[in-house]
């Protein structure tokens, strides 16, 4: 008889606050196997999507994830453009690239903060999220929202960049870069963080290939895949950047990849802003012919894959969505094996958890709530009016 026991993490993850169930099978302190249960929050996007028109679907898939809220609509739009052979105008392609890279910066900083929180290092958490604010403020300025930017549409982008916004983006990037550099040095040199994260949750290169993992999870294991370089879309073929790869495969390597990628993203955004062409921001889309298309975008967590089949109507016949975590979480089965229970929670989080942080505001004065939902709605209408007046529309 073996003395195997089950240690449940979930179905509501106590740290990541997400509905997934990891059933650790342990012998003493050592994890010998892992069972993963999903589907607690299955929302049926692939079922709903064929009921919506091509213009409506980006708003649906934007809500798959609050953090990668640009990657899914972007991949869908790329799939539709592939199917209908549409080329968006250059300005739209550069703006989409800028927004996509801004998203990577804020997502990576979010993960670094959470990783710090997970190991009880709340200073790292506070710092990382503090510096992430600069990026979120840029998002609010250029798209109107901190998350859910609604920037993509088949054939282009929905919002133009105003000339006066560009210096503000550059200033915010300078601040974020300087602070992130300080944070990166502090995290990578910290002996406590190193000893906690090094050689924990190792995913070897062979395992990474067998599970077809993606993004920093793959690149931290020496598996060099990055769709931005391999299958460039939008402006990625026209701006220089490096793909960060580490060989160790442990949690520390994944943290290193994410932190160093932030600087590459800053580089891409600066190059895009410098080269930003003039012209229209959307191509006219007449109709989507029968056929099929594949769209891939390198989200912060890895390749987001969308497949669209059209039967010539104004709605997709089939729309397949694959988020990177689908491949990455499955690889946890091998990454946690042989480790201790204490390491397991960290290893499971190293593929990068994902939840929406859009609910952010509650203003109190003397212990009383000063803004209700209706007040916020009114303020948002007023802001829209001000923007309209400014644009003269």
């Amino acid at each position: 008889m073996s003395d195997r026991r089950i240690v449940p993490i979930g179905p509501y993850h106590p740290l990541q606050e997400e509905p997934e169930f990891f059933k650790l099978i342990v012998e003493g302190e050592t994890v010998v196997d892992l069972e993963i249960n999903l589907g607690y929050n299955h929302r049926g996007h692939e079922f709903i999507s064929p009921e919506l028109t091509y213009d409506q679907v980006p708003f649906l898939v934007e809500r798959i994830c609050g953090i990668c809220s640009n990657s899914h609509p972007l991949a869908f739009v790329l799939a539709v453009e592939d199917c209908a052979r549409i080329t968006p105008p250059p300005r739209a392609r550069f703006i989409r690239t800028i927004i996509h890279e801004l998203e990577r910066i804020h997502s990576h900083l979010l993960w670094v903060g959470l990783a710090g929180h997970f190991i009880g290092y709340n200073t790292v958490w506070m710092w990382a999220w503090r510096y992430r604010e600069h990026i979120l403020q840029v998002f609010e300025m250029i798209t109107g929202n901190r998350n859910h930017y609604a920037a993509n549409k088949p054939g282009g982008t929905r919002r133009d960049l105003m000339p006066d916004q560009i210096p503000q983006i550059l200033t915010a990037l300078d601040v974020a870069e300087k602070k992130t550099l300080m944070l990166t040095k502090a995290v990578l040199d910290d002996p406590v963080i190193r000893s906690r994260l090094e050689r924990v949750g190792v995913l070897t290169r062979e395992q990474a290939i067998a599970y077809s993992v993606l993004g920093p999870t793959a690149r931290g294991s020496g598996y060099d895949v990055d769709v931005r370089r391999d299958d460039p879309w939008d402006a990625y073929g026209e701006v220089p950047f490096n793909v960060i790869v580490c060989q160790e495969g442990d949690v520390f390597a994944k943290a290193k990849v994410r932190l160093l990628e932030i600087f590459e993203s800053v580089k891409i955004i600066r190059a895009c802003l410098e080269k930003l062409p003039d012209g229209p921001i959307e191509a006219r889309v007449e109709e989507i012919p029968p056929g099929e298309g594949i769209g891939r975008a390198e989200a912060p967590r890895g390749e987001v894959f969308h497949y669209v089949r059209s039967d010539g109507t104004n709605r997709p016949l089939r729309h397949k969505v694959r988020a990177p975590s689908y491949m990455n979480i499955a690889s946890n089965v091998v990454a946690v094996k042989g480790g201790s229970i204490a390491d397991a929670a960290l290893t499971l989080a190293a593929v990068d958890p994902c939840y929406c942080c859009t609910e952010r505001m509650a203003a109190f004065e003397d212990g009383r709530l000063t803004h209700t939902g209706k007040d916020l709605l009114r303020l948002s209408w007023q802001k829209t009016e001000r923007v309209r007046e400014k644009l003269g529309r």
């Binding site: 179905p11 169930f21 249960n37 999903l38 589907g39 607690y40 299955h42 049926g44 692939e46 079922f47 919506l52 028109t53 592939d82 052979r85 290939i209 067998a210 599970y211 077809s212 060099d224 895949v225 769709v227 391999d230 299958d231 460039p232 056929g291 099929e292 298309g293 594949i294 891939r296 390749e303 894959f305 497949y307 089949r309 039967d311 010539g312 109507t313 104004n314 709605r315 016949l317 089939r318 397949k320 694959r322 689908y326 491949m327 499955a330």
Partner: protein, 150 residues
Amino acid sequence: MREAEAGLKALIPQAEVFEHNPRRLYIRIPRERIADAAKYLHRERGMRLSICTGIDTREGFEVLYHFSEDGTGTMYTLKVLAPKDDPVIDSLATWFPAVDWIEREMTELLGIEFRGHPNMKPLLTSDTDWESGRYPLRRGYERRTDDHER
């Protein structure tokens, strides 16, 4: 012709290749040969499986295996068709862990049987009272030609 494309043609003479654009290839093969083709692309050509897509078409259940050749940025999509009265395809999960989840998902949502899957239990509905035998992504085929009123 690309090396992988030529290799696939040599391995499976019935393969029909359709090039949508230089980086998107669709290859229709008989369903009995899916394991050979996938092994060739993954093991010999070093391709990564992006995902599989199952589609309920008028002709039968179509399963698409999207392989990515990362060195060239090309997607090789293998297409197999299983008739509606015999929706069975050989499982690849015995040697390829990357397909484990998606085969389970396709079984759950479309009712396609993956023969030889080592761990065929529901992926998304394991902890619910969803009754087996109801497949949400199957369609009865009365899709209208267009729908502008929506």
